[in-house]
């Protein structure tokens, strides 16, 4: 299944200006920005290049066949809680494995970070036993790129409503999507309790934008590709624009196994396995890895050599470390009348009153909350009802019948502290379908991250009560064993001893090797990393272009 349009083709021996590895949230942005700046680009993507006409609503098949995501059959992972435990083979995360990456199937929550997210350690003090640190860049550095991300990708929202919103140079390009019943109930209840709910910023276009069709409210966002092209993933925006420059080739089904260096320690390109199983070396003057917070460190670890025996660009020993997942807590409620939450986007109202929790509570944490629906029909039947009620039989069937249209959920999205033991490493005992070592995930939430989730669930229960929910329930808070957000594994910083890349996304160790994706994060932010990943990519593109034009790459 592939829908590759006419595009510029490069030969393997063509030394392109930039080879980008990974064509998702950040790689697509870099491909478009660099090629529009006049640079030649090859972007390698391990997954397929699908067209929106290939997306369906088949809830079972999309998941069972990993149509949009990494395939646990072909790409096994192992998991353990601490380095002392034996890692067990089990799926540990899901990521987008296609041109466009995870933004093709994401929920489309599109939150900026706030000022505090970049400078927390200096404001709040370090936290013993953690790698809590400031970023080498600030919100002010990022603001123009948040704005660019919102306008170039197409984001619906309403600026100036939340008193907690960080300063912005421009409003959202599109008005908010129509409010759903969950948004109305949440907004009324939250206001009653003195909070400040506001329209959710969503990377879904509420009106036609840049020649793209708007949202038709079909309700299949999270987990699905948008058949309208209304979800603002790079697939309908960055990718065609990159191709249109005539300087960018997007090469799907290209699974990179090693970045090659020359004797001087400069990257000369990357070896990838194509769809036929053949190995190729694509030459380039510089390499950017944008393969996500799991695959980027893995590729560096796979690229070890005599020059870099513990992994490429890993003189700090930190490649793969400080993995952060973001916390996610959920409470549910049922209501007297139908909400029909299966229609339209998952989220229409959020609040950020708990962005920074009071240190007097005795733990570090904070985040945002949204009102949403989490399910399609199958997943609702599996997990949408209160866990204490009947789970099969006639009573269960009646509960499904009554509550599918009458349920809503409040989700808390919060901080994860960076811990050195939490990591991506290679597991030499398990191989993937290409014979390469599988990823081993080591992860145990910091106790404060669990306390944050309990705090959010308690507030969610109060809001559900104020909203008049008939039944209310919390889903249990448990230590994470599976992730949707993959952050922090090649952190950005000034000191080569305590970070992997500098503020320009250049690795401290290899002058023409750059990393840009969720792995660049220093701290986790508040649960919605995608806009920051993409704003980082817009900023990195500016920095890298300027270095390239000065001959400093």
């Amino acid at each position: 299944m592939s829908a590759i349009p006419q595009q510029r083709r490069y030969k393997l021996t063509d030394e392109v200006d930039f080879l980008i590895i990974g064509c998702g949230a950040s790689g697509s942005v870099l491909a478009r920005e660099l090629s529009q700046s006049g640079l030649s680009v090859v972007a390698l993507e391990q997954g397929p290049w699908l067209d929106r006409k290939q997306f369906t609503h088949d809830e079972y098949r999309v998941q069972a066949q990993s149509l949009l995501t990494n395939n646990p059959q072909k790409q096994p992972t192992t998991f353990r809680k601490t380095p002392k435990d034996k890692a067990v083979k089990q799926p540990a995360f899901v990521y987008g494995r296609m041109v466009g990456g995870g933004t093709v199937h994401f929920t489309a929550n599109f939150w900026r970070f706030h000022e505090i997210d970049f400078i927390e350690a200096s404001k709040k003090g370090t936290i013993p036993g953690t790698g809590f640190a400031d970023w080498p860049i600030t919100y002010a550095d990022m603001e123009p790129y948040y704005t660019k991300a919102e306008w170039d990708l197409g984001v619906s929202g309403q600026a100036g409503v939340s008193p907690f919103d960080p300063p912005r140079s421009k409003p959202y390009p599109l008005p908010p999507l129509p409010v759903k019943s969950s948004g109305v109930l949440f907004e009324q209840a939250a206001r009653k309790l003195g909070y400040h709910p506001f329209p959710a910023p969503m990377a879904v276009i509420s009106q036609s934008y840049q020649g793209r069709l708007p949202c038709a409210h079909c309700g299949f966002c999270a987990g699905f590709g948008c058949e309208m092209g209304a979800k603002s993933s790079p697939l309908p925006s960055m990718i065609p624009q990159a191709v249109a420059t005539g300087r960018c080739e997007i090469r799907p089904h290209s699974y990179v196994r090693k970045i090659e260096l020359n004797a001087k320690g400069r990257a000369i390109g990357a070896v990838y396995i194509d769809q036929s199983g053949k190995e190729n070396l694509q030459r380039a003057k510089a390499v950017i890895v944008s393969s996500n917070g799991a695959e980027t460190p893995r590729l560096l670890l796979l690229s070890k050599s005599s020059q870099f025996p513990q992994g490429l660009a890993n003189s700090s020993g930190l490649v793969g470390k400080y993995l952060m997942f973001n916390t996610f807590s959920i409470a549910g409620g049922t209501f007297e009348h139908p909400l029909n939450e299966y229609k339209s986007v998952e989220v229409t109202r959020i609040l950020q009153d708990f962005y920074e929790l009071d240190p007097k509570l005795g733990f570090y944490g904070g985040g945002g909350m949204d009102a949403r629906f989490l399910w399609n029909p199958i997943s609702f039947a599996v997990a949408g009802l209160p866990p204490q009620g009947p789970q099969w039989g006639s009573e269960y069937k009646k509960a499904l019948q009554k509550n599918f249209t009458r349920s809503m959920y409040l989700a808390g999205h919060g901080t994860s502290l960076p811990l050195e033991d939490n990591s991506i490493s290679l597991d030499d005992t398990v191989k993937d379908a290409w014979g390469l070592p599988a990823m081993r995930v080591t992860y145990k939430d910091h106790p404060d991250d669990l306390k944050t989730q309990h705090y959010f669930n308690d507030r969610a229960m109060e809001i559900l009560e104020a909203a008049g929910a008939q039944e209310r329930w919390k889903y249990p808070v448990e230590e994470s064993t599976f992730a949707y957000h993959l952050l922090g594994t090649c952190r950005m910083g000034k000191d080569p001893k305590s970070s992997v890349i500098d503020a320009d996304h250049r690795t401290h160790d290899v002058a023409n090797l750059f990393l840009c994706d969720g792995s660049s994060f220093v701290t986790s932010g508040r649960g919605q990393p995608t806009e920051t990943i993409q704003a980082l990519a817009f900023r990195a593109a500016d920095r890298i272009t300027s270095l390239a034009k000065k001959g400093e790459v």
Partner: protein, 194 residues
């Protein structure tokens, strides 16, 4: 264009008033959704590819306890067994062994409930419920139950959810497009604003 799609497009065109505001027209919607719907798959009357007749009978009995046929149709009428036979043959062959082991575990538990009976399907309904309660926390039970739910609530394109029995039960329509208001409370809010 099949008749379902034609009906869908006609419905879309009829209630498009609000959507015009967002720039959508019936023509644009029609183009966008031309590809996205797939026809239901009817496997009735065909020989089983994965199940033996005995396994099919045992699994149908199990699925009918998960989603019984009562005032409304249940797993049996939705062709859940047909779906699972198709899914394990075509979509997830890697799960064949786990599923077979789970069915075996069900029958072993059934023999503990009623040693004289040949298999789960032969038990009385009360005995079946007793058997299932004894194993409802197990991974085997989850495998068997989840496939019932997928067959009952999944896309009819995969051979289950016959006539959208599952979707009709819970009030889900896969219409590909909706206009606000979506539910009772946003409709109320809309009225108050007006």
């Amino acid at each position: 264009m099949d008749s379902t799609r034609r009906t869908f497009l006609a419905q879309a065109a009829a209630s498009l008033g609000l959507l015009y505001l967002s720039g959508l027209t019936p023509e644009l919607l029609a183009q966008a959704h031309e590809h996205a719907k797939t026809a239901p798959r009817n496997l009735e009357g065909q020989p089983f590819r994965y199940f033996t007749a005995q396994q099919a009978a045992d699994y149908e009995a199990f699925a009918s306890q998960i989603i019984p046929t009562d005032e409304t149709p249940g797993a049996k009428e939705a062709n859940v067994v047909r779906f699972v036979d198709f899914a394990l043959s075509e979509i997830e062959p890697q799960n064949k062994t786990d599923f077979a082991n789970a069915l075996k575990a069900l029958n072993e538990q059934a023999r503990k409930t009623a040693p004289q009976e040949a298999s789960f399907a032969a038990l009385t309904s009360a005995q079946q419920v007793e058997t299932m309660k004894a194993m409802e926390k197990s991974g085997d039970f989850s495998i068997l139950k989840n496939y019932t739910l997928i067959g009952f609530f999944g896309d009819p394109a995969d051979g289950g959810n016959k006539d959208q029995i599952g979707w009709k039960l819970i009030g889900f329509e896969d219409k590909f497009y909706y206009a606000p208001p979506f539910g009772y409370y946003d409709a109320q809010a809309m009225k108050e604003r007006a």
